[in-house]
């Protein structure tokens, strides 16, 4: 049984199609990353998956339950960390945690011990008496994420949960989620910070303008789509001389204007490198440093989106 199974899921607002017939399959225990730029349709999708909004068309099965027919049964088994902050301004950190536990039917003593553990895990113990309205944005965000672990769940949705967190808190959260995923929790994680998805997720889908452009493991996506490599050279010549020497090489994008450094993006690195070296030698330019980098998830993401935009306009 799949944790999430969505087929041809769409959401329309008037004439605008926010999500366009997407298919999603998430296996139990998987950390699934949902990548997209701002306005790509990530939040609309997560709102449909969490039953907050009803799809215009398509079918949706969450944890073996028809989510369109029995949304409450789904909501009883999922956790949701929304993109927007959610808090009770007048409650203290500790009170808001235990009250949230109560709202999920967690018995009092269990609720208190969970709150204690989570405040410690999320570095909130010193803030326990502080009211939510007196916290910084990052602290409030930590409370919001920690609070969601007050109740048991089979599937956790997180919609850009690291917004407002500093790098250390961000890494701590990702490590915490990784640990939870190891113990069997299924995670659906939306973000536009690609390094987070690369670090946490074992499966990724890229959405753009409401459509899923690619979906696979990060490694497979890199292999399949990461044709591009970036070659960086440092020479002893100036911009003008290097630009002139490397002008007109096909199948690559040469970026100069950075002093003695030149960046070359290409899908045929070996061939291009030979051509570049030959031209530099011919023009009497000596090379001081050379490096080549494989595509990152960010490169894949940008390339995928660029390809999609190109095929639309072309």
């Amino acid at each position: 049984m799949k944790c999430i199974s969505a087929a041809a899921l769409s959401k329309e607002y008037g004439d605008t199609r926010a999500v366009d017939r997407i298919d999603l399959n998430v296996e139990p225990g998987q950390s699934f990353g949902f990548l997209g730029a701002n306005g790509a349709g990530k939040s609309t999708t997560i709102k449909m998956l969490t039953t907050l909004i009803r799809p215009t068309s398509g079918s949706l099965n969450i944890l073996g339950v028809d989510a369109l027919r029995d949304p409450l049964r789904v909501r009883r088994r999922i956790g949701v960390v929304l993109q927007q902050p959610s808090y009770e301004p007048t409650l203290s950190v500790e009170r808001s945690m235990t009250k949230y536990g109560m709202m999920w039917g967690v018995p009092g003593s269990e609720s208190r011990s969970r709150a204690e553990r989570l405040m410690r895990d999320f570095g909130l113990a010193d803030l326990r008496r502080k009211r939510n309205e007196d916290l910084s944005i990052g602290q409030r965000r930590r409370v919001q994420v920690a609070r969601e672990f007050m109740h048991d769940m089979d599937l956790l949705f997180l919609d850009e949960p690291t917004v407002g967190l500093d790098p250390a808190a961000r890494r701590e959260l990702l490590d915490y989620l990784k640990e939870k995923a190891t113990s069997g929790l299924t995670i659906f994680y939306t973000t536009h910070i690609l390094s987070e998805a690369d670090y946490l997720c074992d499966n990724i889908a890229i959405i753009q303008k409401g459509r899923i452009l690619a979906s696979d493991t990060p490694a497979a996506l890199k292999k399949r789509l990461g044709r591009q490599k970036t070659i960086t050279l440092r020479t002893n010549a100036d911009d003008h001389a290097v630009s002139a020497a490397l002008a007109g090489i096909p199948d690559c994008v040469v970026q100069t204007g950075m002093g003695a450094s030149v960046t070359i993006e290409t899908a045929k690195p070996e061939h291009i490198l030979m051509e570049v070296l030959g031209r530099l030698r011919k023009n009497g330019i000596k090379m001081r440093e050379i490096s080549a980098e494989a595509a990152t998830l960010e490169d894949i993401f940008l390339e995928t989106i660029r390809d999609a935009s190109g095929s639309e306009t072309g």
Binding site: L52, R75, V80, S86, Y87, T90, R95, M103, G105
Partner: protein
């Protein structure tokens, strides 16, 4: 615990903070003991049901209805605050239905209304105790008026909360509504002495019906007019509740 009770528990924790409770007592206390006694030189007394009632006693009984309106409008703001601080969406993504959320809010508002009425009865009792004519029939009338009034104003606040999105607009509407309902009613003065047109306006205001029923319950003198007012109050409360519930089910995320 039933989901509705869990939400009521949460709502009461959020609403009944010390600041709210102090305000709920302090505000009417100023009206009763400062305004009420200060105006005694201008208004020596009010004739109510053929009996002479001191102005502070008249005002104190009016303050019960006034405080129900004040507290329930404020606690009706739970919905507004939940929407503003993301808790409405958070709760709706949890193990609750919208109807449970609406019911929980109405129960919270009813409870706050009763607590508020009880506070003013306790605080104001020394002022109106000389004119009190409680009977076995009048106490249920007071409780019914308080609960129905709470539902009415709570639903009104819920409707306003669902319709408005900007803080400025919300504050203007809620304050204007509050001032109109408070002062165009019989809470502060009897309708009989007011200019004809204004006196008639009083009877388009549900706070008048609540205050009249509570006064009739405390000072005696339950007339057929009070029952008509109670019927009107119930009908308005039921209508506003249905409208509020409908609107809550349509709030989008």
């Amino acid at each position: 615990m039933h989901p509705v009770l869990r939400l009521v528990n949460r709502n009461l924790t959020v609403s009944l903070n010390p600041g709210f409770l102090i305000w709920q007592v302090l505000f009417p206390l100023i009206y009763i003991f400062v305004v009420g006694f200060a105006y005694t030189s201008l208004i020596p007394g009010v004739t109510y049901n053929g009996e002479h009632v001191t102005y502070p006693a008249f005002l104190a009984t009016g303050m019960i209805g006034f405080n129900i309106m004040n507290s329930t409008l404020v606690s009706g703001l739970i919905i507004w605050n939940d929407r503003r601080h993301g808790m409405f969406e958070q709760i709706m993504s949890g193990p609750y239905t919208r109807m449970q959320y609406v019911l929980a809010n109405i129960c919270t508002i009813g409870t706050v209304g009763m607590i508020s009425a009880a506070l003013i009865v306790g605080v104001g009792y020394p002022v109106f105790q000389e004119s009190v004519e409680f009977t076995l029939y009048t106490i249920p009338l007071i409780v019914f008026a308080s609960v129905t009034g709470s539902v009415l104003f709570g639903s009104l606040a819920a409707i306003i909360s669902t319709r408005l999105t900007s803080s400025e607009g919300f504050n203007v509407v809620i304050n204007t509504t509050f001032i109109f309902l408070a002062f165009a009613s019989t809470a502060f003065y009897p309708a009989e002495g007011a200019p004809e047109g204004l006196g008639a306006v009083f009877y388009f205001n549900p706070l008048t019906y609540i205050v009249d029923a509570i006064r009739a319950g405390i000072f005696g003198g339950i007339t057929p007019a009070v029952f008509v007012e109670m019927a009107a109050l119930s009908a308005i409360a039921a209508t506003l509740f249905v409208v509020a519930a409908k609107m809550m089910t349509k709030v989008d995320f």
